[in-house]
């Protein structure tokens, strides 16, 4: 498809487990973002990739969260030792070059930590 694709759409995991969330951006988009959205809230910025490098990871809440984008396309958000407070919808977005471009969002992965 032409849009941002995220897998899985839903993930239930036990507290303390490790999870990986995948994002496939729009083809040709060099910028990729991870946000998370808790119920009743607006999204919260986590990290921004320009190409393969994490250009801004200021939103990652702690060192349990890590993201990679090794070939400048698909990205994986990794969460270690999950906690119940990590439960949220994790949104991926991508955008093309240019200061006037908007970010296009995927459908999100709903993560539930039990």
């Amino acid at each position: 498809g032409a849009g941002v694709s995220q897998t899985p759409s839903n993930k239930v995991t036990e507290k303390g487990k490790y999870v990986e969330l995948r994002c496939d951006p729009i083809s040709g988009h060099t910028a990729l973002y991870w946000y998370r959205q808790s119920l009743g809230q607006g999204p919260e910025f986590l990290i921004y990739f320009q190409g393969t490098g994490a250009a801004d990871d200021s939103g990652l809440p702690n060192d349990r969260f890590f993201a990679v984008r090794p070939e400048g396309s698909v990205s994986t958000l990794k969460i270690q030792r999950t906690e119940r407070g990590d439960s949220a919808v994790y949104l991926c977005a991508s955008s093309s070059q240019g200061v006037s471009t908007e970010a296009f969002f995927g459908q999100g992965t709903r993560l539930t930590v039990v």
């Binding site: 060099t30 910028a31 973002y33 946000y35 009743g40 809230q41 607006g42 999204p43 919260e44 910025f45 921004y48 320009q50 250009a55 801004d56 200021s58 939103g59 949104l91 977005a93 955008s95 070059q97 240019g98 200061v99 006037s100 471009t101 908007e102 970010a103 296009f104 969002f105 995927g106 459908q107 999100g108």
Partner: protein, 113 residues
């Protein structure tokens, strides 16, 4: 700390009526976005406002930006049921290509027959 405040947070209106949603923010930025989110769905880009005085219209929706007042408005004209959704404004704090968006809480709009 940047704050982005939307009001109202909940809005119930009748079809055919007009209304305005307000988005105030607390720091300097000249880039602001409006998104729509339907229940259980992702975020759909509505408007990109890039300069002071920018005004954009699409169908029954019109958005404007006043960077001096740090205020954006989303005006709804002659509302129809299909506009029922949550509307978010987001202020761009990123530099260059970084779309580091700080979001309001959203305005949940219900348009009733």
């Amino acid at each position: 700390e940047l704050k982005v405040e939307q009001n109202p947070l909940f809005l119930s209106m009748q079809e055919g009526k007009n209304y305005t949603i307000y988005c105030n923010y607390s720091t300097t930025s000249d880039r602001l976005y409006w998104y729509r989110q339907d229940p259980g769905k992702s975020l759909e880009s509505l408007f990109v406002l890039l300069s002071n005085g920018a005004v954009k219209q699409e169908g029954r929706l019109m958005a404007s930006l006043d960077t001096k007042a740090r205020l954006s408005t989303l005006h709804i004209t002659a509302a129809v049921h299909d506009l029922s959704a949550t509307y978010f404004c987001a202020v761009d704090l990123g530099a260059g290509n970084n779309r580091k968006l700080i979001w309001g809480l959203g305005t949940s709009l219900a348009v009733n027959p």
